[in-house]
């Protein structure tokens, strides 16, 4: 009887058409997450899930110096988000309100590099900034100026992060800003508000959904990044994602890598949860 009901449920068109996506997400997304979560409770340096669960890995991770790479990741991700907000807001404002048909050209210019692998683009930056590379060579040939080494430091990592994640901040901001009606800004001005007051009282609050989504996307992406630190930073800074990779590959310690991954997921998940609890998107959009 119950079995029959299950099959009737399964044969509904909605359930049937949701099935491929559901299966794919279960196998490709939820499956690995469950595996990672399970491995974090296995004894160190083991490769099987069929063992007695233990919290050893968690204690080990807390006692070791992983907090340094964790703090670097959080700091660099925060810095990246802050810089991206400053850089992208004016561009997004232009694209949403001023550029007219040229906004499409800017969109293409920003989006096209996404078609090329991130690593290849970062190696491009290496060639450009390298000692005796394109920038240094050009400066020497034309101006006789010898550039100091630009690679392998924190600033160049930040440059890489800002460069790579720019579209993920820019496009949500464009959508956010274009949702702000010009009439509302005119009304605010008519009621005595200065440009700055209009920005603070009307434009920014109404564009906030775009700002939040852009900030969240880029923060999570930058937090989990490692290519910028490895390729441009030359291991000057170890990011948490780098530690996770090493644990899984070089150290062959899956449970440890899993613990670090779980901690990172909990941290970013908690942050998003906290932000959405504090900030009511409906209220921001005037839908309450």
């Amino acid at each position: 009887m119950r079995r029959r009901r299950f099959f009737t449920w399964l044969r509904q068109p909605g359930v049937l058409s949701a099935m491929p996506a559901t299966l794919f997400l279960t196998v490709g997304f939820i499956g690995p997450l469950v595996m990672v979560f399970a491995y974090s409770f296995m004894p160190p340096r083991t490769f099987s899930l069929a063992q007695a669960p233990t919290l050893d890995n968690y204690f080990a991770v807390i006692h070791e110096s992983y907090y340094i790479s964790f703090l670097w990741s959080v700091w660099l991700a925060s810095l990246t988000v802050a810089l991206l907000l400053l850089i992208c807001y004016p561009i997004a404002y232009g694209m949403a309100k001023l550029f007219g048909k040229w906004a499409n050209l800017v969109t293409i210019l920003v989006a096209v590099p996404l078609l090329i692998s991130e690593n290849i683009r970062l190696f491009g930056w290496v060639l450009f900034l390298l000692k005796k590379g394109i920038l240094d060579g050009t400066m020497q040939a034309f101006f006789g100026i010898e550039m100091p080494s630009l690679l392998y430091g924190v600033p160049v990592i930040v440059l890489g992060l800002v460069y790579v994640y720019l579209p993920f901040m820019l496009f949500p901001l464009v959508i956010g800003i274009s949702m702000v009606s010009d009439t509302l800004k005119e009304a605010a001005s008519d009621l005595g508000a200065s440009r700055w007051q209009i920005f603070r009282e009307v434009e920014l609050p109404l564009a906030m959904p775009g700002v939040l989504i852009g900030a969240m996307l880029t923060f999570i992406l930058a937090l989990g990044s490692l290519a910028e630190a490895k390729i441009l930073g030359g291991q000057a800074v170890i990011m948490l994602a780098d530690d996770i990779e090493s644990a899984f590959t070089f150290a062959q310690n899956w449970p440890r890598g899993s613990v670090l991954s779980v901690l990172m997921i909990v941290f970013s998940g908690g942050l998003i949860f906290f932000l959405f609890r504090r900030i009511d998107l409906d209220r921001l959009l005037g839908g309450r």
């Binding site: 009606s181 009439t183 509302l184 005119e186 009304a187 605010a188 001005s189 008519d190 009621l191 005595g192 508000a193 200065s194 007051q197 009282e201 009307v202 609050p205 109404l206 209220r283 921001l284 959009l285 005037g286 839908g287 309450r288």
Partner: protein, 359 residues
């Protein structure tokens, strides 16, 4: 209220605004007195919105002057002008509550929170909104309530002149009628100068002390509602009020005109006839008589009844004259005339009830 010889409160001189090849406002001069309810009426594209946008400072004129109490406002930006506008869309801030919306101009002016709250409550009371609405989201308010919030917010700015850009246009008929009267009350209570724009002359008549009719960037006629109604300067103004009979005529003799289409001769009242050569004879449907009542009138013609419309308090007939002209005639419900379609009827009017206009 409108004393002669007084220094004008708001003086507009030769105001011009062009957009590319299009001249939206073409040299308008206008004086508006203090505490007046002045309405600018015009069809869409007549330049009335451009006009008001220049007056509040959202557009700058190509040439001409805007003077408030003798001070030139042209180069004063919108946020520094002592004027304020209620937008067609109302432009309420969707992320703020009713109270925050009303307090906005006071917050900008750095009024202390307690004083802001006190004045917001007063405004809510004045506009007959419950005090509990202070914490309500603006999107939870009904159309009429939103109108009142927008008006309260504009009044909170304490402007010298309040401008209105057709704020009632999107409301249903009954609510619009209520709010027109409320607005007139608010005008009387506050004693502020109101400048209102609308495409409905009927709406303007209800509320205004004076009306300015705009067409193609020009001010065609300025006058009290009675002047506009009784002495329109041209066919455009006469037709703007609603359906009227207009007949193209030329001067025929003393106190008579001849229709161009059918060589009918009509008598007109003498006072409007001095310099008249050719133009239009305008007769409103409600002054036309039909049936026995028309038989003894100096101006009358025979025709066929071919349509009737119930307008509620009145019935409107369409009559086709012998010369194939079409006439609108209205009678009150209690008028005993009772015609059926196809009937031959006589229609007519008193000479004093017609209006002669040049173009």
């Amino acid at each position: 209220m409108k004393g002669e010889g007084e220094t004008p409160f708001l003086q507009i001189r030769d105001l011009v605004k062009t957009f590319g090849d299009f001249t939206a406002v073409d040299g308008i001069s206008l004086d508006i007195t203090e505490s007046e309810f002045f309405t600018i009426v015009g069809p869409s594209g007549s330049g009335k919105t451009t006009m008001i946008r220049m007056l509040v400072g959202m557009d700058s004129p190509d040439s001409g002057d805007i003077m408030l109490k003798g001070r030139r406002l042209n180069d004063v930006p919108a946020n520094r002008r002592p004027t304020c506008m209620v937008f067609q869309s109302l432009a309420l801030f969707p992320h703020k509550t009713v109270g925050e919306n009303i307090e906005f101009p006071m917050k900008i002016a750095k009024v202390a929170p307690a004083e802001r709250r006190r004045r917001a409550d007063l405004l809510l009371e004045q506009l007959r909104l419950p005090l509990s609405y202070y914490d309500k989201g603006v999107n939870q308010c009904s159309g009429g309530e939103r109108q009142r919030v927008a008006l309260a917010r504009a009044l909170a700015y304490d402007p010298e002149i309040l401008f209105f850009d057709e704020p009632l246009a999107s409301l249903d008929f009954r609510l619009r009628k209520t709010l027109e009267k409320e607005l007139k009350d608010v005008h009387r209570e506050t004693g502020k100068t109101f400048v209102y724009i609308t495409h409905s002359l009927e709406e303007a008549m209800v509320m205004s002390d004076r009306i300015g009719i705009m067409r193609d960037g020009h001010m065609v006629q300025v006058g009290t509602p009675a002047e506009i109604y009784n002495r329109p300067v041209n066919k455009f103004v006469a037709q703007f009020m609603g359906e009227v009979n207009t007949i193209e005529v030329t001067r025929a003799g003393d106190n008579t005109v001849k229709s161009l289409s059918g060589d009918m001769v009509y008598t007109v009242a003498g006072d409007s006839f001095d310099r008249f050569e050719k133009g239009f004879l305008v007769i409103r449907p409600e002054v036309m008589k039909i049936g026995p009542a028309a038989e003894a009138l100096p101006n009358r013609l025979a025709g066929t009844l071919f349509n009737d419309y119930a307008l509620g308090s009145r019935i409107q007939y369409q009559v086709r004259g012998a010369d194939d002209s079409t006439w609108l005639v209205e009678k009150l419900q209690d008028n005993p005339f009772d015609g059926t379609l196809g009937d031959s009827v006589t229609i007519g009017w008193q000479p004093k009830d017609s209006i002669l206009v040049m173009d």
